[in-house]
């Protein structure tokens, strides 16, 4: 068979190494049809879409896209991705708009009472949270000890009401506590740390804790000024409640021995804090998105 084919087929006429020859078969018709079809396709494409540069401009094509611009005017422009995006966004927003309008108009309490809207808050809020909040507060809002606060417990540095949460998201936060290693000596730091440990029921040296109590409420350390006389913190300035068992900056629960727990507290008092920065979201998210996120975060478990 192959012998026969060799004799019948045309060759290019080249001969290499005595007997190597190259066939010169015509292109298969299915390939040729495909080739010409794609040439025609390209011509059609050039007519429909922006294609060739001409002088200082380009051929824009016949296809147009009609969109509504930010001012609400309807506009028609030659087809391009930027105009097409505005059209796509408008269409998608049209479907969500009734819900977002309701979220914007209703009070938080009413949103929570409306099952349909709560569903919307939970699904749209989850997407927004995953995009914007989860990198720090983690996907379930459980936070990261030592870095970012837990949003699912009922301890809130800046308050857990709807208004507080909305304010936190809109304007951002910045935690600050001065370093006391310049102000207090080693003994005083130790006494204060023992006192703070005793406040939340951790094992502490009673005598030192008593001295720490006095320091806490003295003008030397003036801890009470930010943390309050009862050491329960002040949410207006984001100072922590020191009497509960929830710790963000000093990893007290993670330490094995009472001495190490006191040491962890001592380190924070000595070095202070200039962290706990939450970015402001007002430039990135729309007010109604922030309101929806507020309702979502409030619903994570700890809202007050």
């Amino acid at each position: 068979m192959s012998q026969q084919k060799t004799q019948m087929a045309q060759t290019t006429g080249h001969v290499w190494d005595d007997d190597l020859q190259e066939y010169s078969n015509p292109l298969p018709s299915w390939w040729l049809i495909g080739f010409y079809a794609s040439v025609i396709m390209a011509l059609i494409y050039w007519m429909i879409y922006p294609a060739w540069p001409v002088g200082k401009h380009f051929t824009t094509g016949f296809n147009t896209v009609t969109y509504v611009n930010d001012k609400g005017q309807e506009k028609t422009w030659h087809w391009n991705t930027r105009a097409q995006l505005m059209k796509d966004m408008n269409e998608a927003q049209k479907m969500q708009k009734p819900y977002f309008d309701k979220v914007a108009a209703m009070s938080f309490a009413d949103i929570a009472r409306d099952p349909e809207l709560t569903n919307f808050v939970n699904s749209a809020g989850k997407a927004l949270f995953a995009d914007n909040c989860a990198a720090c507060h983690q996907s379930g809002g459980q936070g990261k000890p030592g870095f970012f606060p837990n949003l699912t417990d009922d301890d809130w540095l800046y308050g857990g009401t709807y208004a507080n949460i909305q304010e936190s998201i809109t304007k951002g936060r910045h935690g600050y506590m001065p370093a006391f290693k310049e102000v207090l000596n080693a003994t005083q730091l130790d006494e204060l740390a023992n006192y703070v440990a005793s406040l939340s029921g951790e094992k502490a040296d009673a005598a030192k804790a008593k001295a720490g109590d006095a320091l806490f409420h003295s003008e030397t350390a003036a801890c009470y000024y930010c943390h309050g006389n009862d050491a329960k913190g002040r949410q207006q300035i984001g100072s922590a409640n020191l009497t509960d068992k929830i710790w963000l900056w000093a990893d007290v629960p993670g330490q094995g021995t009472p001495e190490k727990k006191v040491e962890a507290i001592r380190t924070v008092i000595a070095n202070g804090l200039n962290r706990g920065v939450m970015p402001a979201w007002e430039d990135r998210l729309k007010p109604e998105q922030i309101k929806l996120l507020t309702a979502y975060v409030h619903g994570l478990g700890g809202g007050k």
């Binding site: 506009k75 991705t81 930027r82 995009d131 990198a135 990261k144 870095f147 920065v277 970015p279």
Partner: protein
């Protein structure tokens, strides 16, 4: 006379013919961009990087961040929802080379600036999995411990100036920058003060949480925090950008 066989049998001619064919393709795609005035949008706020940001950008390139992260938000709905406003040509006009990237293993970074705190970036670069458990990003712990080499920052800015980035050397160029970018930015773009400005920005910004030194982390975080934040999009109607396409 002009038979295919003739080209095929002469390597030199074949080489020239191949180069011609390829360069025609390239020229058709690239040359018009230099002549179409409407390619780069006119927006306020885009400025060259400060010396510290510029060094941060060098580290971004050195570590190969662009291999997994793009800096180009395309005008599609899914990208608009996740990353924000699509990237404008104007926003990378001072990038040499641009960092658009061609592959996303990690997310796009064109608008990552100010989205997370400095502290998050430091911890995340140090150990990505500690912040994002599902992350496949490698760790970059040496950024925090390596002091930033800024001895050659003036030369680097001079090189960028050579390719058209408006860093200033003379008083005339400085005055022009004051007019275009305002006095505060113009000071940062003045090459003779580059080292001084770099140290001042690193200390004022305290990007790595340690004021006592200028680390590579300082530079990289300063760079990341400015990405995509220069244009205030609330000032513009998206209609204006449509006209550029």
């Amino acid at each position: 006379m002009f038979k295919h066989e003739w080209i095929e049998k002469n390597v030199g001619i074949m080489l020239v013919a191949i180069m011609l064919a390829i360069s025609i393709g390239g020229m058709v795609e690239i040359t018009p961009l230099f002549f179409i005035k409407d390619t780069v949008e006119k927006v306020a706020g885009v400025r060259p990087y400060t010396p510290l940001e510029s060094r941060g950008r060098d580290i971004y390139v050195r570590e190969g961040c662009y291999l997994c992260h793009s800096q180009m938000i395309r005008p599609f709905r899914d990208e608009a929802l996740r990353y924000g406003h699509y990237s404008l040509a104007a926003e990378s006009q001072y990038d040499h080379p641009f960092q658009w990237g061609s592959k996303r293993t990690g997310p796009d970074l064109a608008r990552v600036g100010k989205k997370y705190s400095n502290e998050w970036h430091v911890q995340h670069l140090n150990d990505p999995k500690s912040m994002v458990p599902a992350s496949v990003m490698p760790r970059y712990p040496w950024l925090l411990t390596t002091p930033l080499d800024y001895s050659d920052v003036t030369d680097r800015l001079k090189a960028l100036r050579q390719v058209g980035v408006p860093y200033s050397l003379t008083q005339g160029e400085y005055d022009r920058n004051v007019k275009e970018f305002g006095a505060d930015v113009a000071k940062m773009l003045h090459i003779p003060d580059a080292q001084k400005n770099l140290i001042a920005q690193a200390q004022a910004g305290n990007y790595d949480g340690d004021r006592s030194n200028v680390s590579e982390m300082d530079a990289l975080v300063a760079y990341l925090q400015v990405l995509g934040t220069m244009v205030d999009f609330s000032k513009y109607d998206n209609d204006e950008f449509v006209k550029f396409r």
